[in-house]
């Protein structure tokens, strides 16, 4: 029954009424006018109340469609990613499917027990202990008491808070709090799981643990709807994704294609640093980064090129150009250098172009930027150093491996060669005999 449709969404839409306070064209308002306006507002509010309508502040009311005309289907066991910018309607869609809010139009049919996780630690009570909050939060997320009881030790283990189990959670560090909250949520076992951006919390090690747990959840045949801003997470966890834009669904398909389309809308394929030459001294006038995919997205293992243009009003003897690739946490990963003695450059006046090619970029998935340096040896000096330029993102789009590609697991991947062979054979004793296998892997 793998192809059975468990979630069917048809023309779903949701509108809100929002009010604007329109300026009356003048910057000042007298007290009398202000009082008059307040009085008018109260009268109007009273009228609204008597008709049972919602009070909307402002003198201009507008209907705003947070979500409109969205249709899709999800089959059993599928993991569907939902991506889009802030305000694209992702959360509204999840809220409707979680039955928290009602749609204005359309219809959705869901088969199976649903649990939604729109926030980590919903309903946690500051004054209650960790133990008490596990029961409270579990019940709120839809677990039965028996279910929580049977998983209690596992949850405590996962959260690593044994020692503080009987301490009120308000005494917890924020990390402990998040770990406990996520541990409860991670042990939910509904047929359909709806998850909003919840992995953006907690420390790196714990995030990785959660990702692992989610991966097992996803592989266990559960249907999952998943919203995230982290494209690597979406690519790693989901097979299919939908892209929302301004409340409408603009695309649906394989995750990596949808991610690419989403990133393409974010910006061009090349990031450029540009500066007009002053003409008085040697300067980097342009740095252009060509990523393998659009949206400043570099696919792991694919070529990446960096073009540098330098304007030199006069020859620069013994020139040196270098750059560092930095992580988003300002940690240098690579330092790449060219000296005039290696590849000659800037030996005449004018504008020069240098090209640096990475035949196979092996940075670990993550966000990076460049720090550039232009200098000269003898006398040793730095002529110019534009920093924090050309940001880009590295992602693995098709090479998904078990136990690999967790964010911050590494910074760099090296080609290695593995071999395996049997050194003491135990034959027919029942233990498997390994075959010699060798191969080139990342």
């Amino acid at each position: 029954m793998r192809n059975e449709v468990v979630i069917r969404v048809e023309n779903l839409g949701k509108s809100y009424l929002i009010g604007h306070e329109m300026a009356n064209g003048r910057s000042h308002e007298s007290l009398r006018e202000a009082v008059g306006r307040q009085a008018r507002n109260i009268v109007r509010a009273a009228l609204d109340v008597s008709r049972g309508r919602q009070i909307i502040h402002g003198n201009k009311i507008e209907e705003f469609w947070a979500l409109s005309d969205v249709s899709f289907e999800v089959t059993r066991g599928e993991v569907l990613g939902i991506i889009g910018r802030n305000g694209a309607g992702k959360s509204t869609l999840l809220k409707i499917l979680s039955r928290i809010t009602e749609p204005t139009r359309g219809r959705a049919t869901i088969k199976g027990r649903v649990a939604s996780l729109l926030e980590v630690g919903t309903g946690f009570h500051q004054d209650l202990t960790g133990r008490e909050n596990i029961y409270l939060n579990g019940a709120i997320l839809g677990m039965s008491r028996a279910e929580i009881k049977s998983k209690f030790d596992e949850i405590v283990d996962f959260a690593e808070i044994e020692k503080f189990l009987d301490t009120p959670v308000k005494r917890y560090s924020s990390g402990m709090y998040v770990r406990l909250a996520f541990a409860v949520a991670a042990h939910l076992e509904p047929e359909i799981l709806i998850i909003d951006e919840v992995l953006a919390v907690g420390d790196v090690v714990f995030q990785r643990k959660c990702l692992g747990k989610m991966k097992t959840t996803a592989n266990s045949g559960r249907t999952v709807l998943f919203v995230s801003h982290n494209m690597q997470t979406v690519a790693g966890l989901t097979e299919r994704a939908i892209l929302l834009q301004g409340g409408r669904m603009v695309a649906m398909g394989k995750s990596d294609e949808i991610i690419e389309q989403y990133l393409a809308e974010q910006g061009p394929t090349n990031t450029v640093y540009q500066q007009t030459a002053s003409g008085t001294h040697p300067e980097i006038t342009r740095v252009e980064l060509h990523t393998s995919r659009s949206g400043q997205l570099q696919q792991f293992g694919k070529p990446m090129t960096i073009d540098v243009e330098i304007h030199a009003p006069e020859p620069v003897p013994n020139a040196a150009v270098s750059f560092q690739i930095m992580t988003s946490r300002h940690q240098p990963v690579l330092h790449v250098l060219n000296l005039d003695s290696e590849v000659p450059m800037l030996r005449s006046a004018g504008t020069h172009r240098l090209r640096c090619l990475f035949p196979r970029l092996r940075l670990y998935p993550g966000t990076y930027y460049l720090n550039f340096y232009l200098g000269a040896s003898e006398p040793r000096r730095v002529l110019e150093a534009p920093h924090q330029i050309c940001p880009f993102e590295v992602a693995v789009l098709d090479e998904v491996r078990e136990f690999y590609w967790y964010p911050d697991n590494a910074l760099y991947v090296e080609d290695v060669q593995w071999t395996s062979q049997v050194i003491v054979a135990e034959g027919a004793s029942g233990k498997p005999v390994l075959q010699v296998h060798s191969g080139l892997q990342d």
Binding site: M1, Y16, V49, Q54, I55, K95, I96, L97, S98, R99, I100, T101, E102, P103, T104, R105, G106, R107, A108, T109, I110, K111, G112, R113, V114, S116, L118, E119, T122, G123, H125, D127, L128, E132, Y135, L136, A139, I140, L141, S144, R145, E191
Partner: protein, 272 residues
């Protein structure tokens, strides 16, 4: 595989509303337990507050109405009569004021998790039982002190406790529903509760009300409930038509409350 199928549509009256409510009974228990557990957390006197407040109120009423105004008490010690009235009244008043704010104080839950919303005010009123039971214990102690034994009527007490619960639930549901939209009601309820203390026969016996007005007086549902309470516990006389009238009013208010609540609960998450 489960056979549950949920259909989400605008304006769809939940077909399985009451069954859903039943399915979420564990959440109801947990929320009621939570409200009890945190009730006196981080207070110096803790649970003693549940003793001090009603006892002080009883002393004041006894002095003012019993000693100074010299109102009749129908043959029972005045303090005991006051306390037997204070018990259901306090339960009603605490339940009503806490429940009316229950959705607003739990905004995080309402906007992030689905559950039949009616659970929230109901569980909040249920949590007021903790004070009620402590009060019951004080009452028993006082009766022992005055050497008064309860009669067989005491077994009927749970019926009237339930009635007090429902009396608080009906208006709570209505106010909760409206409170989500218009927060003005947050200020109305404390005022009403304060006012209600004096128009209900808490500090005095309802026998002081002229006979021809008693039925009309019983339009206040607390009149019937308090009278019946005193009848169960202290063998005071009771005006049964008044109790009947109060039951009718409780049922009507409950029906109005449920109707209003169900009409508006689908929009709670948008408005809160």
């Amino acid at each position: 595989m489960s056979a549950i199928e949920i259909i989400i549509e605008p304006g769809r009256a939940e077909k399985n509303y009451w069954r859903d409510l039943w399915r979420y009974r564990e959440l109801f228990q947990v929320l009621a337990w939570r409200d009890c557990a945190v009730r006196y957390k981080q207070t110096v006197l803790g649970i003693a507050w549940a003793v001090i407040r009603p006892v002080l109120a009883m002393l004041i009423f006894t002095v003012i109405f019993g000693r100074i105004a010299k109102l009749p008490s129908g043959g029972v010690p005045y303090a005991l009569m006051v306390f037997a009235g204070l018990l259901p009244w306090t339960f009603f008043a605490t339940g009503l004021s806490d429940a009316s704010n229950s959705l607003i104080t739990n905004t995080g839950l309402v906007s992030k998790v689905y559950f039949p919303r009616m659970i929230m005010p109901t569980a909040t009123i249920a949590a007021a039982f903790i004070d009620f039971f402590i009060g019951l214990f004080i009452l028993a102690t006082m009766m022992a002190w005055y050497h008064i034994l309860p009669s067989w009527r005491i077994v009927l007490l749970p019926i009237f406790v339930l009635l007090a619960f429902l009396a608080a639930l009906g208006p709570s549901l209505w106010v909760t529903a409206v409170n989500v939209k218009y927060r003005d009601f947050r200020y109305v309820i404390p005022f009403l509760v304060q006012f209600g203390l004096y128009v209900s026969p808490v500090g005095f016996s309802s026998s002081v009300v002229p006979q021809k007005w008693r039925l009309l007086y019983s339009l206040n549902p607390l009149v019937g409930i308090i009278d019946a309470f005193r009848w169960c516990v202290l063998r005071s006389s009771v005006y049964w038509p008044g109790v009947g009238m109060s039951v009718v009013v409780v049922v009507v208010l409950l029906w109005l409350g449920i109707r209003k609540f169900r009409q508006t609960e689908r929009t709670f998450a948008d408005l809160i």
